[in-house]
């Protein structure tokens, strides 16, 4: 009996030791997860982007092409929707473990440069691993901040009025290049009266549209350091918005809130929406109607204030494989096959070689190409104004506070004050 019990004790101790060992092993296993090199010279790089399943499938096909051409480089992928992407990226980057290469946009360049997250790809251009030749429309300058190359554009897009075509036809509205805000207001009324649907989904909260309006009037949303407009400017903009919401020209904010993350346009709550022109690809898959692109209304009949926006690829400063990352980016922006796979999903391809390689055959992508070409022809494109660190938080606050205004939870004065308070905190001024 005594003997037997001792044996039991020993077994018990062993079992306990084993459970400790397992816990310890688990810890080491996670600690090893960070390594990416291996014995045979194969290098693994991590690539992350934001987008939906559709984009992920296209990107995976381009990665398969890349891995075939560069057998020594393996690419591990990760993607989330836009807002979740940045949360995850923030957490990873602050933990010193950001993806080696990732999708980026203009509003984030300064922010992450100030935090020492971004790699200056200029070195790799000099070393011949990345070519900045052959970009369209001056796009090679887009990712340059203070002489550092922080992002390489993969595509360009511009703001547009995305319209529900049958609704506009029924209302008898035909927007043309150079139409004015008065024409636009008139169109909203016609759509409301003749189709019973709101004309627009909520233009008053779109930071990039207000930026265009300000630029038409010689201002801009941001300066290098802060906001480029006054409280009086915003009061005018939102006073008009409040009237429009009450009159039913803009979609009922209560309804729009419920259908998120679907857009008000594809949910048939509004006849049009101001957004980036490549969004027609998404809306076409999301909604039942047929979507087209209309020009941005102007103040003086000529100037739209537009500029090209761009999605970019950036590398993290922490990457242990800057050379491979540069080769990867180079392949993604120059290879013609990549363009054929991606289409206009991330905007019109940034390099001439990719632009020529993909000629759209479907009406949606053809419309995007035609729209972009019409902008070039009309000569309305200007240079982009800077986005200071904190611009992304201002954009989110602008959208949110505009929504509160539309829901009747804030007066115009209150909304303007709240926005200026929050953006001052965000921009640190």
């Amino acid at each position: 009996m005594q003997q037997g019990r001792n044996v039991e004790r020993r077994t018990v101790l062993k079992a306990a030791g084993a459970s400790l060992a397992v816990a310890g092993l688990g810890a080491t296993a996670t600690a090893c997860g960070g390594g990416s090199g291996s014995g045979d010279g194969t290098v693994t790089i991590r690539y992350a982007w934001w987008g939906a399943q559709d984009r992920a499938e296209r990107i995976n096909r381009t990665i398969a092409l890349f891995e075939k051409k560069f057998p020594k480089i393996k690419v591990k992928t990760d993607f989330q929707p836009y807002l979740d992407f940045w949360k995850k990226f923030n957490t990873q980057a602050s933990g010193g473990n950001p993806p080696d290469v990732f999708q980026n946009a203009i509003g984030f360049l300064r922010k992450y440069d100030a935090k020492n997250v971004l790699l200056d790809l200029g070195e790799q251009v000099k070393a011949g691993n990345l070519s900045m030749e052959g970009f369209r429309a001056g796009l090679e300058k887009f990712g340059e901040i203070d002489g550092k190359l922080l992002g390489v554009p993969v595509g360009s897009n511009s703001m547009a009025l995305v319209i529900d075509k049958p609704v506009y036809t029924r209302a008898g509205v035909k927007p043309e290049m150079g139409w004015t805000w008065d024409d636009f207001d008139e169109a909203m009324k016609k759509i409301r009266d003749r189709t019973g649907r709101a004309g627009d989904s909520g233009m008053y909260g779109v930071m990039y549209l207000y930026d265009l309006y300000l630029r038409q009037n010689g201002k801009a949303f941001f300066t290098e350091k802060g906001l480029g407009f006054t409280e009086a400017d915003l009061t005018d903009w939102w006073t008009k918005a409040e009237k429009g919401v009450r009159a039913g020209l803009y979609a009922d904010a209560r309804k729009v809130a419920q259908i998120k993350p679907k857009s008000a346009l594809s949910a048939e709550l509004a006849g049009s929406e101001f957004t980036w022109d490549n969004f027609t690809v998404r809306y076409t898959s999301e909604g039942k109607s047929e979507y087209g692109l209309a020009p941005i209304p102007t103040t003086d009949g000529k100037k739209t204030g537009q500029y090209l926006g761009s999605l970019m690829l950036s590398a993290s400063r922490r990457t242990q494989h800057p050379e491979e990352v540069a080769q990867f980016i180079d392949f993604m922006v120059h290879d013609p096959e990549v363009a054929k796979i991606m289409g206009y999903d991330r905007g019109v391809p940034a390099t001439q070689a990719q632009y020529d390689a993909y000629r759209p055959t479907d009406p949606v992508n053809q419309a995007i190409a035609a729209y972009e070409e019409s902008l070039v022809e009309a000569g309305v494109l200007e240079t982009i104004t800077p986005h200071p660190a904190g611009a992304d938080i201002c954009e989110a606050a602008f959208l949110r506070i505009a929504e509160e205004l539309a829901l009747g939870k804030r007066s115009v004065d209150d909304a303007v004050k709240q926005f200026f308070t929050e953006s001052k905190t965000a921009l640190g001024s």
């Binding site: 079992a15 935090k115 209560r254």
Partner: protein, 333 residues
Amino acid sequence: MGTAVTHAPAMEDLTEDSEPRHGPVNSAGSAALKRRGRRENLAGYLFMSPWIAGFLLLTAGPMAASLYFAFTDYNLFDAPRWIGLDNFSEMFADPRWRHSVRVTLWYVVVGTPIKLILALGVALLLAQKRRGQAFYRAAFYAPSLIGASVSIAIVWKAIFSDDAAVDRAQRFLGFDAGGWAGDPDMIIYSLVALTVWQFGAPMVIFLAGLKQVPRELYEAADVDGAGKLRQFWNITLPMISPVLFFNVLLETIHSFQIFSSAYIVGGGAGGNACGPADGSMVYTCYLYVQGFENSRMGLASAMAWMLLIAVALVTAVLFWSQKRWVHYEEDAR
């Protein structure tokens, strides 16, 4: 076993030292006992080690760190900068923070009592023997197993949207108020409804409490001619008051911590709002927005500690109040 060792008198230690192996049987036995005791303690700690390591690394460590961050300006990237109480003064001055406190308090104050009253009511019905009792208990308990899940929150949002079940029921009853999910003032009640729907967990605890009430008390009351209501008020309620106290405590603390359902029903898809006009911006959601969307971890840590202090205060008040209304059996005798 452990107690045997602690009760061993000090004298025995001496005997053990002088005659370690060949001593009297009982002394050797006590030494063996002692060794075994030590080994058992060791085994115990080894078994607990994964949990202890987890507690130190994943709970205690981060808590200590967040206490430090609460007094710093920390954006995740740059080293934390000590700013004293600035986070707290900013917090109190921030109208959005005050809004989130109001939303959360309202949720706790409205949701918790309704949930507990419903739980007690159903428990009283199910405490009586009737056919299908086990089925009813399981059926009422089921929602609290799945209620916290993301999928239920998504379904919930759909139910409370325009033209969905709730909106149609409202119109059938003659008032056209629209769906709650898009209404800045109503969305919080859809969350209250979600928590009330999960009354099964406190109900099961109430059921256990009701079983403990001695039947002879009711028999005596019957003999004395007390009605059902009077029996409930004078027998059932005092007898289950410890269980009631436990449920109040648990549900209150739980309610303060609401996050995922508010975050999902609020659908933080546009901007960093939660719900229409921040209608479902509960405290933890705002903490999340400040920490993870605005990268203000110092401020978020300060908010977390503020929540801890608030919940601790509420708990203290509840404990203080129990002297007045909770009857433990010892008092009764």
